[in-house]
Amino acid sequence: MTPNVFTALWKNIAEKEIKRTIANQHKIKVKLRENEQVFRANTHVRYQSERCNYRKTIGMDDSDKLGKNEVAASFYIAFVKENNMTCYSNDKKIRDFDSVILRDLDSAINHETAFNIARGILESFILSGNEKIDDGYRKYIEKNGMGFSKGIKKEDVLKLLIKAQNEKKLSIYMLISIFLWLESDTRHCYEATLRG
């Protein structure tokens, strides 16, 4: 992905999501460790590195493009790698004693934001990509976005991803599987609405 394409993706999806996350916090405040341009540039470098490693490990030709799930997964890993969104508190007790709650919140915020951005990337690929999709499905995604089927909570998936990252086991393959699963669940939910 060229820096220009990455910047467009960032401007249209990531930047909005980051701003929304920062604006949403009340009790605990969120800020970026780096300024936004540096964060974007560094995320792009990490994204390219993830992408290269992935292509090498599966023996992909240089001319082959990554699929939407692979792009979203590489982006997710690049985004959460350094936990660049960080929480801070004016509460003296939290600041002085309880670094754990801030660390937990850092992970929660970074993973939740990364997931929302990655999902946004998937949606944008589906809505504006070359894939042939029926009009009803397009409208369904525009209206509802992508989501897991009933009984599966996004938060539970994120908790597992955070645990995997804590144990240095977070991998692009794991994320590709999750996004494939998300795509298939969205399709099932759509078909269920058609059946009534």
């Binding site: 007790k93 004693f97 670094s99 919140l105 929660a108 994120l158 645990k163 804590n166 144990e167």
Partner: protein, 163 residues
């Protein structure tokens, strides 16, 4: 509920339980001072106990990021923080000239911690049972140094389930 909200709820719950634990400990501290005719004074206060609590919690999570942090583990960490010896001092100190020895001080400290945990976790103990449990806890934590945070948490869980 978002993951961030979940974290904040967990934090508020922990804060509320700690408040309950300290509230009960404070009540016990005052009761003990009266019981021993003011021949003992308390060394620890809420800030010093909470500081120890968070140090222990942070150290533990550094070692194991996935360590449990349910009510029983919070209570166990509080118990350890409250009963920990710091520079030869316990939560209480005997006043000069009193006949209260270090063994008594250790026992009063553990008794206060156990009572606080029992109050906060709604564990009701008969006096006989309480004495037996106290002896076990003091031996294992203070003398044998064999009880871990997970072990103590399991112990509280069993006590709550058994009463």
């Amino acid at each position: 509920m978002s993951l961030v909200d979940e974290c904040l709820v967990r934090y508020e719950k922990e804060k509320a339980l700690l408040k309950k634990l300290w509230g009960s400990a404070h009540k016990e501290i005052e009761a003990n001072k009266k019981k021993f005719h003011f021949k003992i004074i308390n060394v620890e206060n809420e800030t010093s106990v909470l500081k120890k609590y968070y140090n222990k919690k942070n150290e533990r999570l550094e070692r194991d990021p996935n360590a449990s942090n349910d009510d029983y583990h919070i209570a166990a960490l509080f118990y350890f923080a409250f009963t920990e010896e710091t520079n030869g001092n316990y939560a209480f100190r005997a006043c000069e000239g009193s006949n209260i020895n270090l063994g008594d001080i250790v026992e009063i400290t553990h008794c206060t911690a156990l009572q606080s945990v029992c109050d906060a976790l709604n564990i009701v103990l008969e006096k006989v049972k309480e004495n037996k449990i106290l002896n076990q806890l003091i031996n294992k934590i203070h003398n044998e140094r064999k009880l871990s945070i997970d072990g103590l948490a399991t112990y509280f869980k069993l006590l709550r389930g058994n009463h």
